[in-house]
Symmetry: C2
Subunit: 467 residues, 2 copies
């Protein structure tokens, strides 16, 4: 049958793509990082690392997996979300779930008693992914922690200053850092009459106030969680009422006047600490970023002192972009003695998603780093284009040539425009000078071979450290 080969090919074409898509899938809940996203990530990480450097923090890294027993018993119910490796003989391993437990293990492994360190790395959670809302099974965390002894609030102040410097430098938009103190929160609940065994569950209700109105939270407290209505009503003024707009010191002054609250020794001690902290933050010029907010009640299970959470005020529904606090019991879990610590975890993956959106509007970050396309319309011009590229590379200019013997003028121009390359150098073998076109302004300059590097040195940001 004369048609059979054609039919076979047709069938192959119909079926092949389906087979291919099957085979070429990335794992569920993960994503590849494409060139533009990678450029955004590199930009963000450079800013973040520079901030840590400015504060004298050191970087560390740990393996992507740990011995399973290292992670066991550290995450409560979430332990079921840990990725285990298959038992192929030897140790039983699991992928790291966060950077905190590996940090604690690191301190014990290396006998570290005092450190100011950061760690940027991926962590793994076998959670239900929600790719549209940016929830992945593999995502980045960026932790900054100060572990070891220190004067009251001297480390908290440094951590909060680092956080505000990072958020300022990333230019994500306006943000504020909500701040509270675990002991103040506990004292407030005790003073209002919350029974001690209900502290945690009432906390988690309070923590919903940034998404839900008081009436709904009050209903959760009373109907669902069995809190006496008059107790709930006593909590109300502490956790609602526009604290966000008030200055941190005015909230502090108001609480200082609350004689019933201040009669509780933990409350008085916590307010003293917060006053010290605000003095330090004023000295470091970042107090204006702080909202002293008693409705911040998140993740209290291991925090022992000041807690905080940063959120963008410009983007709706983004929620927390960084959070942390003091946790004096956690780092010492592998050591016989405890190591006090305070830190912050910056939500890198969320921040990268925001930056990708902003940068794709701004056009400031390109996947393709090329600054100059070295072109020619002559036949067999590769050697000529390579020679000019080599000159530019040596001067630290990002340059490239097309991989064709005799590329067409139109093709080279289109490539430069498509990739956002700002300049084309045209080499004409008959002429001694090079023609340099600025793609944006369409201006052409004639420049001698010997002056081409100087031409770009004054017009582009070149890497002066290049050989």
């Amino acid at each position: 049958a004369p048609n059979a080969p054609g039919l076979a090919r047709l069938l192959e074409e119909i079926l092949a793509p389906a087979v291919q898509v099957m085979k070429a899938k990335e794992p569920k809940g993960t994503r590849d990082t494409e060139p533009f996203q990678m450029a955004v990530r590199n930009k963000a990480f450079a800013i973040i690392r520079a901030t840590f450097d400015r504060h004298g923090a050191v970087g560390i890294d740990t393996p992507i997996f740990e011995r399973k027993e290292t992670l066991m018993g550290k995450y409560g119910e979430d332990q079921k979300l840990i990725y285990d490796l298959k038992d192929q003989g030897g140790e039983i391993l699991s992928l790291r779930y966060d950077l905190t437990v590996p940090f604690a293990r690191y301190c014990a492994s290396h006998g570290v008693k005092q450190i100011k360190r950061y760690h940027i790395g991926t962590v793994y959670r076998r959670d239900q992914p929600n790719v549209n809302r940016g929830r992945y099974r593999e995502f980045f965390q960026c932790d900054f922690d100060v572990a070891g002894p220190g004067a009251v609030m001297s480390q908290e102040a440094d951590v909060l200053k680092v956080l505000t410097e990072i958020l300022d430098a990333l230019q994500l938009g306006e943000y504020r850092v909500k701040l509270n103190h675990r002991k103040l929160l506990d004292a407030m609940m005790a003073v209002c009459g919350v029974p001690a065994e209900k502290f945690r569950t009432i906390c988690s209700a309070i923590d919903k106030l940034d998404k839900e109105p008081w009436e709904k939270v009050r209903e959760e407290m009373t109907v669902e969680k069995g809190l006496a209505p008059d107790v709930a009503d006593k909590i109300n003024p502490y956790v609602t009422g526009g604290v966000a707009e008030a200055s941190p010191n005015s909230v502090l002054a108001k609480l200082r006047k609350d004689s019933k609250l201040c009669a509780h020794p933990s409350a008085a001690a916590a307010l003293d600490e917060i006053e010290v902290l605000f003095n330090y933050l004023r000295a470091m010029k970042c107090l204006h970023r702080i909202s002293f907010d008693l409705s911040l009640a998140r993740g209290l299970h291991y925090y022992t002192g000041v807690i905080y959470e940063a959120m963008l005020t410009t983007e709706d529904g983004v929620g927390s972009i960084a959070a942390g606090g003091r946790y004096d019991g956690l780092i010492g879990m592998f050591s016989p003695r405890s190591i006090p610590a305070v830190g912050v975890s910056v939500g890198i993956s969320r921040i990268l998603a925001i930056m990708e959106q902003q940068e794709s509007k701004r056009g400031g970050v390109k996947g393709c780093p090329t600054q100059v396309l070295v072109a020619s319309t002559a036949e067999n011009s590769l050697v000529a284009r390579m020679e000019i590229c080599a000159l530019l590379w040596e001067a630290g200019v990002n340059a490239e040539y097309l991989y064709e013997d005799s590329p067409k003028h139109k093709h080279q121009l289109e490539y430069a425009i498509k990739e956002g390359i700002p300049y084309i150098v045209f080499i004409e073998p008959s002429q001694k000078t090079l023609q340099i076109r600025n793609i944006t302004t369409k201006q052409d300059d004639q420049v001698g071979r010997g002056e081409v590097c100087a031409f770009f040195a004054s017009r582009l940001k070149v890497d002066a450290s290049a050989k």
Copy 2:
């Protein structure tokens, strides 16, 4: 018994550390990255990324794990070294074994037909680790590949130029890039009379010539692998005899005069390609790094054209620090059509180990990035020290203060010396000026508060992009 509590405590002290060491172990064959190693890594990666940027290459990343079926059947016998994840429901996953198969999967997933990309990431091999010789189960790879159509040798030249720029910039010491062509090697063996079915096994014998003398390799060929002695003797002049010292073009000229070899069509074609490549490398000023060496016969299973391997000539026993070649069949394995490609894999972990040794001698890289310790001997000086730190941070100076209310003079000085911090600023509350001590020269300067940033701007490399 009055002694019992003391005995119990003694027993506890004896036993506790043993338990702790057990618990705090990193997985076998992996290592933590400590601050000094991290600083070296960041330095190396910055240099490598800048080189890729200069050539207009884009960066990508892929998840640390792939679907197991993506990796199956790609690594031959080494497949047994792949780390599988436990089946916890859902997809069956494995940790990536290299960056090449994920790249092929990436190209298919995103419909990429042409790309110049680099990828720096960790890979995982359940191999017998040899920590002393730098062989780990988790280690970095750095791959640079040009995939897609291109004029003969135009891409090979770019890849080799990138490789030499990276090795130059990393300043590891003298190196050379051995270069050969798979088709030339096959033709040479055919001309010498090696039976086609013995090509691979004879190749692997030839490849040992950088570690073993000809006599030993000849014995392997003849006794062990059954090659006729006269055939082995015909191979000898091609693969021994000081090619390393000869210029690439003189080796080429010598082979051109070998009429028997050149009568083989593959050999003639390969020599033509190599001649074109050498012209390009001369145009890009890196031909002097090349050794045209017919004894290079490594990893031939998927290479289809030019192959190369870089090694340091100064360090003994370091062996290969980068290797690559053209492999036109590999990238297309997830696509219905093949995508030609050429690339290089830089042995980052080996390079980092060398750099760590060099930098610890040189003292150019410190784990602690601090440039200025802001100190005072006054009581309760934290606010004063924080104010000066904030000024310095804003000016892009890396500064820190000790976390004590009233640190002692000696303690602050010792800290600066121990951490290699070049300057101390002393704040004396009674004086209007600050005293700045250069730790190396022991010179003291008196500087007004308003001039402190300018003082360091002229003396330190500060991050001008800081806010």
